[in-house]
């Protein structure tokens, strides 16, 4: 007997057992013991069977409940509780799962569209196949996003009815456009996916473009809702004194004054920018993890080569988007500070200061993972030994930057620790916790990762440009100058002649010097290695298995990072639903410990990875061969069956 038949038999047996148990229970309850002589007497007198004590008890309870329900006046609930888990955790997990799937669904079309466009321009079919492979992940993920979105909405209405009602009071005019855009997104997404190869390339690219436009518009609307909760108004110089004043979008009682100000509130655009970049980085990493999953499953060289390339492209997308992310993060943080110093200090110097140490560990791991994958990738290409000597220096630079970034400025410390340090900040190490040091560290990290990309790009190639030595030296000088400028501003920021405001502004030349260096080096590198002599072929599919686990590790770290940063963005409001307007009066109106928050983030990440595993599996089914009978006998039998 085959294994499948045994499993089927066990399933049937289990089903029948459940039915029998239920029926048996029902039979025993229906045939409760009754005294025979009383039964006959009552039946003769009333014409009805007498209720057993149990039935009578149940009827009495029901009557009492009904009477109590009728006597109870209707009271509008402010909050409802979820047993064991709690309302906040329920909404937290649902919102995070919705956001993770939504981020993925918004990000993948961006780079799928770009890759398809590259394929259209270059005429190379492999790009088209790659873009389609990415798009295959969207269909199920879109359903997951919608499911968790609906789940979250119901949870908010049920668990936080008063607050949800308030948000509806503010944003009800935005709901219909949101629903219409969502409908359009479904239309464009499914026509983009199912129309692959069915439409002309221009029409198909148009569908992809519209999918991105609509998806981004949806995110912008949803971002207005959540940023309003943090910054319910805008800053504008109302009195003409050159100093921006806070213009609230709502009155002191919370009544809406301006939907426009509520929508285009202070942190709306910084969040939009940050989310677009973060979504692409996250989406790229998840797509790379899918490629890794398929690479490890692959049974032939062709598939291995394809999914190795897909993993490389996914990781490339993730890291390229990740490089400017710290800048977008600092912009968002600066805007939060500008909106409210209290929020800003709470974020970086108060309760959440240790959270940023965790963030540093995650980002450090992401940079390490990405660089490690690139260094391993050099093994795909012959003749790369002379590049290996740079790796240890890059590793040292990354590790040092990691350590600086992980140093907090203020620490939550015990009384004795504070006494020993002479304050809540360490007398020496706290300097590394300041923006000067952190900006320096992140800029050097970015430069180092960029160098890894550059080295990877050069492997297996020798420039034949007539000015190759001059150009290569120019690149080194630009790189060294950018690094020197970053370090100079980082160190000079601590000079006693530099005040706090100027020190913070030093971040701008630091960022510009790094961005300018990356652009300039890339601009030189393109002609330098155009038509370069190939000294070694890239052999896709020759990556060790550990490199694929590195891709999954990167995706995990990205997901965990998104969960953590989602927590801090929301947690910053502390006991406010809408900062300064609607106070949280529920039992959850406090900021939990970081340990508790990381437990919730971890559970969310595990659920997400369980679900994304299902997405991967379902997506991988489309590439499998159609089912065929295993034996000739079975084929004959089926053939007869069909004929009959």
């Amino acid at each position: 007997m085959s294994r499948n038949k045994i499993l089927f038999g066990i399933g049937v047996l289990a089903f029948v057992s459940v039915i029998v148990t239920v029926r048996l229970g029902g039979f025993l309850v229906d045939n409760e013991y009754r005294q025979p002589e009383r039964q006959v007497a009552v039946e003769e007198a009333t014409g009805e069977a007498e209720a057993t004590p149990r039935q009578q008890g149940i009827a009495d309870e029901q009557a009492a409940d009904e009477a109590e329900a009728r006597a109870r006046p209707y009271v509008e609930a402010e909050y409802r509780a979820v047993p064991f888990v709690g309302s906040r955790v329920t909404v937290w997990v649902l919102a995070q799962l919705h956001l993770l799937f939504a981020a993925f669904v918004l990000a993948v079309p961006i780079f799928a569209f770009i890759i398809e466009f590259i394929g259209y321009v270059t005429g190379e079919k492999r790009y088209d196949r790659l873009a389609y492979e990415f798009t295959k992940l969207l269909s199920v993920s879109f359903s997951m996003t919608a499911t968790f979105g609906a789940f979250l909405t119901f949870a908010l209405i049920i668990l936080y009815p008063k607050f949800t009602n308030y948000l509806m009071h503010i944003f009800s005019p935005t709901f219909l456009p949101y629903v219409l855009l969502f409908f359009l997104e479904a239309l464009f997404l499914y026509s983009y996916y199912y129309g692959w190869g069915k439409f002309g390339p221009k029409m198909h690219l148009f569908l992809g473009f519209m999918l991105n436009v609509v998806g981004t518009a949806i995110m912008f609307i949803a971002n207005a809702w959540l940023t309003f909760m943090m910054s319910p108004g805008k800053r504008e110089d109302v009195d003409g004194d050159g100093i921006p004043d806070f213009v609230s979008a709502v009155s002191e009682s919370g009544a809406l004054l301006s939907l426009r100000d509520a929508f285009f509130n202070f942190t709306w655009m910084p969040i939009n920018i940050h989310r677009i970049i973060a979504n692409v980085a996250f989406g790229g990493s998840i797509a790379a993890a899918y490629a890794a999953f398929r690479y490890l499953q692959a049974r032939n060289d062709e598939d291995r080569a394809h999914f190795d390339w897909m993993g490389y492209v996914g990781n490339f997308v993730a890291i390229i988007a990740f490089l400017p992310l710290p800048f977008a993060g600092y912009y968002l943080a600066a805007e939060i500070y500008a909106f409210s110093q209290t929020l800003g200090v709470q974020m970086m110097g108060g309760t959440f200061s240790w959270l940023f140490v965790l963030q540093a560990a995650l980002i450090g791991n992401l940079f390490l993972g990405a660089n490690y994958y690139l260094w391993l990738g050099m093994g795909r290409i012959e003749g790369t030994a002379h590049f290996h000597r740079f790796i240890k220096w890059l590793l040292i630079a990354i590790a040092l930057c990691f350590a600086v970034w992980a140093t907090p400025r203020y620490a939550i410390a015990s009384v004795s620790e504070i006494a020993a340090m002479g304050g809540s900040s360490h007398p020496q190490l706290s300097y590394l916790g300041q923006m000067s040091a952190k900006n320096t560290a992140v800029n050097i990290l970015i430069l180092s990762t960029y160098m890894s990309f550059l080295l990877y790009r050069r492997t297996g190639k020798t420039s034949i440009h007539p000015q190759r030595q001059l150009l290569a030296r120019t690149q080194v000088i630009i790189f060294a100058a950018a690094a020197a400028l970053v370090i100079f501003f980082g160190v000079f920021g601590y000079h006693q002649s530099v005040d706090a405001a100027t020190r913070i502004r030093f971040a701008i030349p630091q960022v510009y010097s790094v961005l300018a260096a990356m652009v300039a080096i890339t601009v030189i590198d393109l002609p330098l290695y155009r038509n370069a002599r190939q000294t070694g072929e890239t052999q896709w599919g020759r990556m060790p298995a550990v490199s694929q686990y590195a891709l999954i590790f990167i995706a995990l770290s990205f997901t965990w990072l998104m969960g953590l940063m989602g927590y801090v963005r929301s947690g910053l409001r502390q006991e406010w639903h809408v900062y300064g307007v609607v106070l949280d009066t529920s039992p959850d109106a406090y900021t939990p410990t970081l340990g508790f928050a990381t437990q919730i983030v971890s559970v969310t990440v595990l659920i997400f990875f369980g679900l994304i595993g299902v997405v991967f599996w379902l997506s991988s089914l489309s590439g499998k061969k159609a089912w065929e009978p295993k034996s000739a006998v079975e084929a004959d039998r089926l053939g007869e069956g069909h004929a009959a």
Partner: protein, 161 residues
């Protein structure tokens, strides 16, 4: 014989191991639960000394940024001016303003005067989300006066706001 761990098992172990590692990091950092600041009761019979104590509590609690943004007599890095000795400096910082008037202006209207070398940005203490009452601001002024001078504020003191 070489033991070969199947790929799905390795993946599950990687996911669980990485998540557990990050969760572990979250457990070893200092843990602190932040509750909303308890209400501070100010009664009519409170003396200036009582107000100083209440003001200190408010600066560390409901006033939020007051103690977190400023150093008090220490030389570490600070976003806003050191409050050490502010009670003494307040009387002479702006010509024509007494120490109480200057301190009250700093709390009600912080953008009106910004100490050179520092950026504007402090929030008015009487507005949401901090929303200190007038009496609570009197208490904070009394506490600030006590940092380098003798506090004189009472609940009858007129702050001009």
């Amino acid at each position: 014989m070489k033991l070969s761990v199947p790929m799905p098992v390795k993946m599950v172990l990687l996911v669980l191991g990485t998540t557990a590692f990050y969760m572990y990091l979250g457990q070893i950092v200092p843990q602190k639960e932040e509750h909303p600041p308890p209400p501070v009761l100010i009664s009519d019979d409170m003396t200036t000394e009582d107000l100083v104590e209440i003001g200190r509590e408010l600066a560390e609690g409901k006033g939020q940024c007051l103690a977190a943004c400023h150093n008090i007599g220490s030389s570490g890095p600070s976003r806003y001016p050191d409050l050490g000795g502010i009670g003494e400096r307040a009387a002479t910082t702006i010509e024509g303003l007494s120490d109480i008037e200057y301190l009250a202006q700093s709390l009600y209207e912080p953008s009106a005067y910004v100490v050179p070398g520092y950026e504007d940005g402090m929030q008015p203490m009487n507005e949401p989300p901090i929303s200190l009452s007038d009496d609570e601001i009197r208490a904070v002024v009394a506490w600030l006066q006590s940092l380098g001078s003798t506090p004189t504020v009472t609940l009858e003191t007129e702050l001009g706001y």
